[in-house]
């Protein structure tokens, strides 16, 4: 169907575009911006007056919980949440059950996701078998099956020799490693940042050096091997500083931050709110401010949701026993807008962190509105206030620290391949 989106404020960060204009969509592609393409017959018209039209969001980490963890959430519920959040492409980590270390599992996941005609799913393959950190997976085969990169999710890989060899093997084929910098021994069962709040609450703590020591290993070995590395979920000021220095050296390193960490700190744990039990932990206000500064100066390339739906029983436990993670596909946009408003960052810069930049890191053609490209769009009302509640979230996981908050920015339409896959 031919679609005309009229009078929206079109913001396309990759093409440095920010103007009120019309967009024409034909055969699943963007036909043109502004002028009506020749021979275009409008099938459907969307009135975007007062709304913002941007590339569909690209989320670098969203757990869909299939295969294996369907009691927490399903493809159906989570991909429904994705389109409700304006996310048109997402990467899912390999920590399913079984883990994504076999091409057959990856193909099945891609097939099931494709069949829903919703968000494009890009699986991150397991770097080691079973994510156990001992033996390499068949990365080349997994890549052929559809994996865009390889990682350990948040499972440890303490053997540096294995990690270095994994880097060498991956870089043989030009594959990118997605690594979370956390030293398992220094983290030692900790559940909160090693600071004042953990001290008051008596929570086992994860020192900053658990991140920085792991980062130094990763950076030094990446330098040795020439491997491309994407650092997942920075959490500390020192971590940002180390990453900044590594990039200054010209190393092929990218990194992201989870949207919760852009806003929250250890202070938000309050009276043991298990919705704030996250990995990596929420650190000090100083760390949070450094993450924000890193986003501003480009040290941190992208913001992701780090979506992790958790069933209610697993959260209604004492803090340390509660399962870590927060639901986030539907909060990525409003929380990014909140960050932009608070730091007075122009939307064209802020939105790049959830569109063009993550697409570049994923290495996929997405996150921009160039004519001829796929018509994946997010149309949202920047002035619509809505309350985050169990009833307003489509995800099966209702676990978010922002429960009860009123946020600004709601998706009105999501288009993928030129089809309206979500309408509010």
């Amino acid at each position: 169907m031919n679609i005309a989106i009229r009078n929206g404020r079109v913001i396309d960060p990759k093409n440095s575009f920010d103007r009120v204009t019309d967009i024409y969509i034909r055969s699943g592609k963007i036909a043109s911006l502004g002028a009506v393409p020749p021979g275009f017959e409008v099938g459907r018209e969307i009135n975007a007056r007062g709304l913002i039209v941007c590339p569909g969001l690209v989320d670098l980490s969203a757990r869909l919980r299939e295969p294996g963890l369907e009691y927490k959430a399903t493809l159906e519920s989570e991909m429904g949440a994705a389109v409700a959040g304006g996310v048109t492409s997402l990467a899912c980590p390999p920590d399913t059950d079984p883990v994504l270390d076999e091409p057959g599992l990856v193909e099945m996941l891609k097939y099931r996701a494709r069949g829903r005609n919703q968000t494009r799913v890009y699986p991150i393959g397991a770097l080691t078998r079973g994510l156990r950190g001992e033996w390499l997976t068949e990365m080349a085969e997994l890549h052929s099956a559809g994996c865009v990169a390889f990682g350990q999710s948040d499972r440890p890989l303490p053997n540096n020799r294995v990690l270095m060899q994994a880097m060498q093997y991956a870089s043989t084929f030009g594959f990118c490693l997605w690594l979370r910098p956390q030293d398992v021994n220094l983290a030692d069962g900790g559940v909160a940042h090693d600071g004042e709040v953990a001290t008051r609450l008596g929570l086992a703590a994860i020192p900053v050096c658990a991140e920085t020591v792991a980062l130094s290993h990763i950076i030094l070995m990446a330098k040795e091997t020439g491997a491309r590395v994407h650092l997942c979920r920075l959490s500390s000021a020192e971590g940002v500083a180390m990453t900044r220095a590594a990039r200054k050296q010209g190393l092929p390193i990218t990194c992201d931050v989870a949207v919760n960490h852009v806003h929250l700190s250890e202070m938000d744990i309050g009276f043991f709110d298990s919705n704030c039990h996250l990995v990596p932990p929420l650190r000090s206000l100083g760390d949070r401010d450094a993450l924000r500064a890193g986003l501003l100066d480009g040290t941190i390339d992208a913001i992701c949701s780090d979506h992790a739906p958790v069933d209610e029983d697993a959260k209604l436990l004492p803090f340390a026993e509660a399962e870590a993670g927060a639901t986030g596909l539907e909060l990525l946009l409003p929380l990014t807008l909140k960050w932009a408003a608070e730091t007075k960052l122009p939307l064209v810069a802020a939105l790049s962190r959830i569109t063009g930049e993550p697409a570049r890191i994923l290495g996929v053609e997405a996150g921009h509105l160039t004519p001829g490209g796929d018509a994946d769009l997010c149309i949202f009302d920047p002035d619509h206030y809505w309350t985050i509640e169990a009833s307003t979230l489509k995800s099966q996981g209702k676990n978010t620290p922002f429960l009860g908050w009123e946020l600004q920015g709601k998706v009105k339409y999501t288009l993928i391949n030129g089809n309206v896959v979500y309408a509010d």
Partner: protein, 316 residues
């Protein structure tokens, strides 16, 4: 986060979960109420009918005979009915969650839960989810808090020293893992003790502990100088196993309380210990049994303080 989960709308104590965040007036009210209960424990008939008809459930997810017994004695002396539940960890892994257990018990017309759990925050979680008529007393949650222990320590200090405002107090030992220490620190600072010291090796101190309002010492000789009250903490064997300390012997040499080290404090300094003691590890028997030790009175006061807490909660 703005409202105190321990207080009801009228500012009365609804639950006792931690000494942190309670105003001095509430702490002092507990101490003042405990005074007449000490008198009751010294009579022949040690019971009063105050809580007759009330049911107090001891929910001990972490075993402890001593603490459970003192709560049981306190409740019975108030003429309450006491039900003891030792919920072993294995029965939890059978699938019944913490809150399932609590909900089942709430349905049995409990008036009060006394909760001990291995995880920090367990008492807060339970207090958030019980019916409004049920009161929760935290008998120790993980490393976080043990408010009744701190209160009986404050009562003991007040009995011996009268005025909190003139004291130097030192807490010695494994602060990092101690719920008793945390509760003591909050109580001492709230009650206006001008100098609270913690004395421990670095591996046994939590991050930014000075933000709790304490002065940090690693040298026991320096830390005990001119101290009026010494609060010793128990050292557990696990600390050697987790590579925080090399041996009990070296710990005793540098951080154990011997008569020589006690002599560095004021001559009328008192020594407290929450029990059970590891003689020869954190404290020398000569000191534990000596005339400056108030460890045995602590036990008696512990019953009176718990009676006071239960009475105040039941009457709110």
């Amino acid at each position: 986060m703005s409202n105190n989960p321990q207080l009801n709308k009228s500012g009365q104590l609804q639950h006792l979960l931690t000494t942190e965040g309670l105003p001095a007036s509430i702490l002092l009210n507990i101490l003042d109420t405990a005074e007449p209960f000490v008198g009751v424990t010294e009579r022949d008939v040690k019971k009063v009918p105050l809580l007759r008809g009330k049911s107090i459930f001891n929910l001990f997810f972490e075993p402890s005979t001593r603490t459970r017994t003192t709560f049981e004695i306190a409740a019975k002396r108030l003429s309450a009915d006491v039900i003891n539940l030792n919920i072993a960890v294995s029965s939890q892994s059978k699938g019944e969650t913490l809150l399932d257990t609590v909900n089942n018990l709430s349905a049995m017309h409990a008036d009060m839960f006394v909760v001990r759990h291995a995880q920090s925050g367990a008492a807060h979680l339970i207090a958030q989810h019980v019916r409004s008529e049920i009161h929760v007393i935290n008998a120790g949650d993980g490393r976080h808090a043990h408010p009744t222990q701190a209160l009986l320590d404050m009562f003991t200090i007040r009995r011996c020293k009268r005025d909190f405002h003139n004291l130097r107090v030192a807490i010695v030992g494994d602060i990092l893992h101690s719920r008793v220490a945390r509760s003591q620190i909050h109580a001492l600072t709230t009650l206006g003790v001008p100098e609270v010291r913690v004395i421990a090796p670095k591996t046994l101190l939590p991050a930014k502990v000075e933000r709790l309002g304490v002065h940090v010492y690693h040298d026991m000789a320096k830390g005990l100088k001119d101290v009026d009250v010494l609060m010793m903490l128990r050292l557990q064997n696990e600390r050697m196993l987790s590579a925080r300390l090399p041996s009990a012997e070296e710990y005793f040499k540098y951080y154990g309380l011997t008569p020589e080290k006690l002599a560095l404090a004021k001559p009328d300094a008192i020594v407290l210990h929450p029990g059970p003691m590891n003689r020869g590890v954190e404290i020398d028997s000569v000191v534990a049994d000596g005339k400056q030790s108030v460890i045995l009175p602590q036990v008696t006061f512990g019953i009176a303080v718990r009676m006071a807490v239960m009475s105040i909660l039941a009457g709110s």
